[in-house]
Symmetry: C2
Subunit: 209 residues, 2 copies
């Protein structure tokens, strides 16, 4: 049980998660059979079921791994010394480039929720992911997590991901980025201004019913 066990350089569990990470993300979860995951990992089938109760557990572990990856990637893209608008733009720009390189396969959490709509555990991880994204965007924007400015940034980020996946349109991703920029500017103004100054032409939608 110590970490002193040497094991075959990388454990079967790690190899399985790496394999699942590639296959689930690129070809989809339902389209990827257990046998393929195992073969691709170069691991015995029994090793899968020694480390995971069943396929669903593997899927959840895969998603948790992806969540971890998102966080690390977000920090790798982030330069805390840059101005806010640049730190936010970097997120969108990474997405746009991924589209151009044809390496974008969609948000793993959205994909999983769509592929397994009745799996509660999947929804849970997806909600965790959403909370992480919201928190991160809030910190980049320098706004309260519950603020509408952050909600709007979340919307724009999700929009960009959808355009990247379905439309494969890098230009639309960058348009979302531009909207995010304007949001940052507006938020900056709000910070320096007295609070109740901006109300020019909003809040009409509630009367739309």
């Amino acid at each position: 049980m110590h970490s002193s066990t040497i094991t075959p350089i990388v454990s079967a569990k790690e190899r399985l998660l790496a394999s699942a990470g590639r296959l689930f993300h690129e070809h989809g979860i339902n389209a990827t059979g257990i046998d393929l995951v195992v073969r691709n990992a170069g691991v015995a089938k029994a090793s899968l079921y020694n480390n995971f109760a069943n396929k669903e557990a593997l899927v959840v572990a895969y998603l948790e791994q992806e969540l971890d990856g998102w966080i690390r990637n977000a920090h790798a893209l982030d330069n805390p010394l840059s101005p806010r608008w640049q730190r936010i733009a970097a997120l969108f720009e990474a997405l746009a480039r991924s589209v151009e390189l044809n390496t974008f396969h969609g948000c793993p959490f959205t994909n999983a929720v769509i592929e397994l709509p009745e799996c509660a555990a999947v929804r849970t991880v997806a909600q965790d992911y959403r909370a992480v994204v919201r928190t991160h965007l809030a910190s980049l924007l320098g706004a309260d997590t519950t603020s509408t400015a952050v909600s709007r940034l979340v919307l724009l980020y999700d929009a960009a991901i959808t355009e990247a996946k379905v439309g494969r349109d890098a230009a639309l991703v960058r348009e979302a980025s531009t909207m995010a920029q304007e949001l940052v500017d507006a938020h900056k103004l709000e910070e320096t201004h007295p609070p109740a100054t901006r109300g020019e032409l909003t809040k009409r939608d509630t009367a739309a019913r």
Copy 2:
């Protein structure tokens, strides 16, 4: 071959498409087997393969049916006598209500692209859908289909759908609606103003690289 053939009130093809429409949309395409579609349609298995070459063809027909449904729904929601902002708000509000009633199962086209990422025919219908949406939103906004204003409206609509499906958050859907409202207002101003008037604090993202 005439339309004078009586047939059992509704044809096997129609029953199959109705069944596929329910099952594919609610439980997912890959998770719905042929046998279930057939049983649910109350139809013989052979009738499926008399009307469709294979499952993929059924999926494509299902998507074409959904595209048709989207168009009809969009027109049903639309009151051409209402002001633009209301006609656009109706689209978002329908989405928000669907979330609250727990009857929203995601965009059939996005779902299909995610479930069958390597199926070209699915991507094609999805692009058709995107073109239809863009055209419709352009007409609601009274702007050119290629304008950035329409692109932004498309982004907001897709964002709302993602929040509806993954986050199940009607408030976020309505926030997207509010953003769309502001877009309509901005567009209205642009219409009445000389063209190059609005450039306060934009176009900086292109320097973000």
